[in-house]
């Protein structure tokens, strides 16, 4: 019984903290992203590139929410990186994230030269979104298309 109570309290705390956390949208450069991934040894990173104007991206966002919800016990970080224009941060991205109650970490890509940053993220990327990068240690998988939940989970498990 005590265990359950601890579990519930812990669960609430977790829920609360992630809810709170998810309401913010921070700027991130490609360097900062790579730094973050390098630091988190043994973790799996699922990095999704999306935008508020991209309909297929919005359609697949719930899959990324579900992925992190269902794998809470695993070392998994889902990072949702918006490529919306920087000028849309407060007018589009922040309200969207609030409205959709997104719990994963959301960032806005703080880069201005696509010629340079697209290749630094992934040389094979043509620039279309949605695009998803899965990284665990030395393993990398880049997918430049919309994913169903089944496809996402398959790629996650296969990595």
């Amino acid at each position: 019984m005590k265990k359950i109570r601890v579990f519930i309290i812990f669960g609430f705390l977790l829920l609360y903290s992630t809810t709170f956390y998810g309401q913010q949208v921070k700027l991130i450069t490609v360097d900062q992203l790579q730094e973050r991934i390098k630091k988190g040894k043994d973790s799996t990173y699922v990095v999704n590139f999306w935008a508020t104007w991209c309909a297929p991206c919005i359609k697949e966002l719930p899959h990324f929410e579900k992925l992190s919800q269902e794998h809470k016990s695993e070392k998994l970080a889902v990072l949702l990186i918006s490529v919306d224009f920087k000028s849309k941060l407060n007018s589009a991205v922040v309200p969207f994230v609030k409205r959709k109650k997104i719990k994963n970490e959301v960032f806005l890509l703080n880069e201005s030269n696509p010629q340079e940053y697209i290749d630094r993220i992934e040389p094979s990327w043509s620039g279309s979104i949605p695009a998803t990068l899965l990284i665990r240690n030395e393993k990398r998988k880049f997918i430049e298309s919309e994913l169903t939940y089944e496809q996402l989970i398959t790629e996650y498990k296969k990595l």
């Binding site: 696509p114 290749d119 620039g127 279309s128 298309s145």
Partner: protein, 202 residues
Amino acid sequence: MKKYISIMLFLTAFLSQAQSKTLKAGEAAPDFKLINVDNKEVSFESYPKAKGFIVVFTCNTCPYAKAYEQRIIDLDKKFKPEGYPVIAINPNDPEASKADTFAKMQDLAKEKKYAFPYLFDKGQVVTDQYGAKHTPHLFVVSKSAKGTVVEYTGAIDNDPEGDKEVKTKYVEEVISALQKNQKPTITETKEIGCTVKRKAKV
């Protein structure tokens, strides 16, 4: 196990479909015969006097395509008289993207007074031949003794939002190099865009 295999097969088919190679500078630019919004067929052969073409895969729906629409109209205005007309092709499947039907394309071309063809690519055949990945995705093509050749592929300029004071106008630079009989210095660029809409494979 069976399920796993079928998922794998599905995924392989899915990914191989999504990865038709984008044509690069120096490669042959295949001619096509596609239906225009005025119901007439258009191909490279429709322009016997052209020196080349600005082939742009664009659509009704993508915010990036909309942001670039006026710049596409301006490219045609500037370069058609110089022998490089714009040919716009909508790469999206109309079932997958309801606002990209032929009728809606006709509406847009009329509303925006497109002075260039806006072609419907039934079955996404030309889209796959060129390996167009997103909208807008642009190819500069030149006519040579060997036929039509890709000179450049990528973005129109490096300023999608249209607010940079100093911008590089890639397409203009490519054409001005071609006009001087020079090879363009930049032949490939990358840009964020909306992925080409396809029917879900079952």
